[in-house]
């Protein structure tokens, strides 16, 4: 049994070695993609949004407001002081042409109406077609408005002589302070979230595609028929073909983790044993899915098509890039269909929160179920095909 498996694996290794291009592709892709995606995919956070400020007020309040906005790095400001209404029209044109994402209008009566004891109004014009930036703009505009109002209120208290010092004024206008305490990823470094997802996704892609063609290729070349008449059993064929790619996937994982550590300082902070077991189970489960696809395909083309059909929803639904919480609730049950979901969740838990085996037990059980199901079904179908004709 063992000797037969080893024998098949050696054959598979020789073939892989002959196919140098594929081998290099398999060894380099995960590392390169980890580097690329590590830089490219952060948690969605928009900065330097092109924004124009139209100052029609030319007054002191407007100056204060502009200063407060300038402090916020969300906006790349283009301030038009001493602006006319034609400047506003021009800005609206630019918004339409997508040169701007937002316009902040400081009206001509801003300073004067405040001095008369009235209420001033600042208008924010936001491009709603960009659903990604718009919420950020609105949130940051709100923050600027609050900050500006507090400052004005504090200035008023000082001016009226109700308080003596700046500190007292601040206490009056904002008596309750919000203190935040960010745990597990205090710097909110996006790579801590995305890198496990990226590595998982790359591994998923690679293992499924490479495995999906393995048995399909033998079938296409007619060598499967030749193997079937030998005393080799279906499980020996199954495992023998899996072993080389299992080893390859482990090498790839190590490469990717080293890159993650060197470039993005993402470390396996958690229990090494937990992370290792999760990774191994995930690789086995992914290879299992690939094998199952392969067993059920007539040729390599078909196998690749099924593999892509499977992988595509994985990218969106597994939570590799975006948390599952961002998905609509009626879609969430589908996320349980992919081993990557469990991988991402448990690896993040152990990387960032130092989760123990007990903490990730459901994820591990789910991965184990994938391994058992895919291995069992593959061998079952292989055996049935061999005796079906």
């Amino acid at each position: 049994m063992l000797r037969n498996i080893l024998h098949l694996s050696i054959k598979e290794f020789i073939q892989l070695w002959r196919d140098r291009r594929t081998l290099i592709f398999l060894l380099l892709t995960p590392t390169l993609l980890t580097i690329l995606f590590g830089y490219a995919v952060g948690t969605p956070k928009a900065t330097a949004i092109p924004t124009r400020v139209i100052d029609l007020d030319h007054g002191q309040i407007a100056d204060e407001y502009i200063k407060d906005i300038s402090d916020n790095e969300t906006f790349a400001l283009d301030v038009r002081r001493h602006a006319e209404s034609s400047d506003l029209e021009q800005a609206e044109q630019d918004l339409k042409k997508d040169k701007l994402k937002a316009i902040i209008v400081l009206p001509h009566d801003l300073t004067s109406s405040l001095l008369e004891g009235g209420r001033g109004q600042v208008t924010g014009i936001v491009d709603g077609s960009d659903t990604f930036s718009a919420p950020t703009i609105l949130r940051e505009l709100g923050a600027v408005a609050v900050k500006n109002n507090l400052k004005l209120a504090a200035g008023y208290l000082l001016y009226e002589g109700i308080v003596k010092t700046q500190a007292q004024a601040a206490l009056r206008v904002a008596p309750v302070e919000l203190k935040t305490d960010i745990r597990y990823n205090p710097e909110l470094k996006s790579q801590n979230f995305t890198i496990p997802g990226i590595i998982g996704l790359i591994l998923q892609l690679l293992t499924i595609i490479i495995m999906a063609t393995s048995i399909a290729r033998e079938r296409e070349r007619g060598t499967m028929e030749q193997l079937a008449v030998t005393p080799l059993t279906s499980s020996e064929i199954f495992i023998g073909k899996l072993v080389p790619y299992f080893i390859l996937a482990i090498i790839d994982t190590i490469n990717a983790l080293v890159v993650a550590w060197l470039l993005f300082h993402v470390q396996l902070a958690g229990h090494y044993a937990v992370v290792t077991v999760i990774i191994l189970m995930f690789i086995l489960g992914s290879l299992g899915i690939g094998q199952l696809i392969s067993v059920l395909s007539k040729n390599q083309n078909q196998a690749i098509q099924i593999a892509i059909f499977y992988i595509f929803p994985v990218v969106i639904l597994s939570g590799a890039f975006n948390p599952i919480e961002t998905l609509p609730t009626n879609v969430r049950p589908f996320t349980y269909l992919f081993p990557l979901t469990y991988f991402c969740r448990s690896v993040r838990a152990s990387l960032l929160r130092e989760a123990s085996f007990y903490d990730v037990k459901y994820d591990l059980l789910a991965l184990l179920a994938f391994v058992i199901a895919t291995f069992g079904l593959s061998v079952f179908f292989l055996r049935r095909q061999a005796t079906k004709g």
């Binding site: 054959k11 002959r18 007619g222 060598t223 028929e225 030749q226 030998t230 005393p231």
Partner: protein, 329 residues
């Protein structure tokens, strides 16, 4: 000492039949691919297995080499039970597939080593076997060439070497000469005769009926049934006096006219020769008159008329016609 390809003597070798099956049946759903097939193949003979595509040949071979369990019937192949000892059957028989089914990216030697290991042959035994077979099959010079880069004939010989790696008593060859040039075909058949001389039984399917004539015995399969099973001369005897040859001048009108004669089953054209086939045995002289008259009436000319020796091809066609007639009825 002359190196021999003789298989290792096995316990079953005192048995005269390598294949001995009775009432073998295999159905897929409602379709009966092989219907109550009984067959005996003697040790050391070349058995030709013939029949049109879809007749059930492949299914039969799959059952015989232990791939497929029969739905009904039983038997023994290389001395092992067809139902319960399929693993042993696989260990003691070889199979050379119709299409090249070795690894094109592995060298001859690697392919051989792989299949050798699959049968549990390693080390010195492997090296000895490889040297022997590669010498015999003239592969030694190309042992480090990748199989995909070999010529067609060379590939067939490598496939044969890999099928013989474990010295099987019985080798199944599924259309071994398909797509191989006549020269290579001749060489392969010489090798097959050598093998059978040394006691290996060969079970060969082919569509080349001249090759079938080289077999010791042939079986005809049609529609899931083995409808004939005998040596080629005996089989051909069945068709004796069924055929008349006529050399004519103007072939096509003659062909059309003769075809319309009521008791003629079929007429085929070979150059200037019309081959007239009758469903029953006849004395050719009794037909001479009517044939000549028909041909002359059709505006053609008879040059010569004589009885014909049937070939296996004629037999094949005749069997196929029988089936067609039976289906029409």
């Amino acid at each position: 000492m002359n190196p021999s390809l003789d298989p290792i003597d096995k316990s079953s070798s005192n048995n005269a039949f390598v294949i001995k099956v009775d009432e073998l049946t295999r159905s897929f759903g409602d379709i009966v691919a092989v219907d109550h097939l009984s067959l005996r193949v003697r040790r050391g003979e070349i058995f030709g297995f013939l029949g049109p595509n879809g007749a059930g040949k492949t299914t039969t071979i799959k059952m015989l080499c232990g791939l497929l369990a029969p739905t009904y019937g039983n038997g023994q192949v290389v001395g092992y039970d067809l139902r319960h000892e399929r693993h042993q059957i696989k260990c003691n028989s070889g199979y050379m597939a119709q299409n090249f089914s070795l690894y094109p990216d592995l060298t001859c030697e690697e392919n051989f080593r792989f299949f050798s290991g699959v049968y549990g042959i390693y080390g010195e035994a492997l090296r000895k076997r490889m040297r022997l077979l590669f010498d015999r099959l003239e592969l030694a010079e190309r042992s480090r060439t990748q199989a995909g880069k070999l010529s067609g004939g060379m590939r067939q010989r490598l496939a044969l070497a890999c099928a013989l790696v474990h010295s099987p008593e019985l080798v199944f060859l599924d259309e071994p000469t398909a797509g191989v040039d006549p020269n290579q075909r001749q060489r392969l058949w010489d090798l097959l005769y050598d093998l059978c001389q040394e006691g290996t039984t060969l079970f060969v399917t082919t569509h080349y009926l001249d090759e079938a004539e080289r077999c010791h015995n042939v079986g005809f399969m049609l529609d899931g049934h083995l409808i004939a099973h005998d040596s080629p001369p005996l089989l051909k005897k069945r068709l004796q006096d069924h055929m008349i040859g006529i050399e004519v001048r103007n072939t096509v009108p003659a062909l059309r006219a003769v075809r319309l004669l009521p008791d003629v089953r079929d007429v085929t054209l070979y150059g200037y020769e019309l081959r007239v086939f009758y469903p029953t045995a006849i004395d050719w002289r009794t037909k001479e008159e009517i044939l000549k008259k028909t041909i002359v009436d059709a505006g053609s000319q008879v040059i010569n008329i004589y009885p014909l020796q049937p070939t296996l091809e004629d037999l094949f066609m005749s069997f196929t016609h029988q089936l067609r007639d039976a289906q029409a009825a």
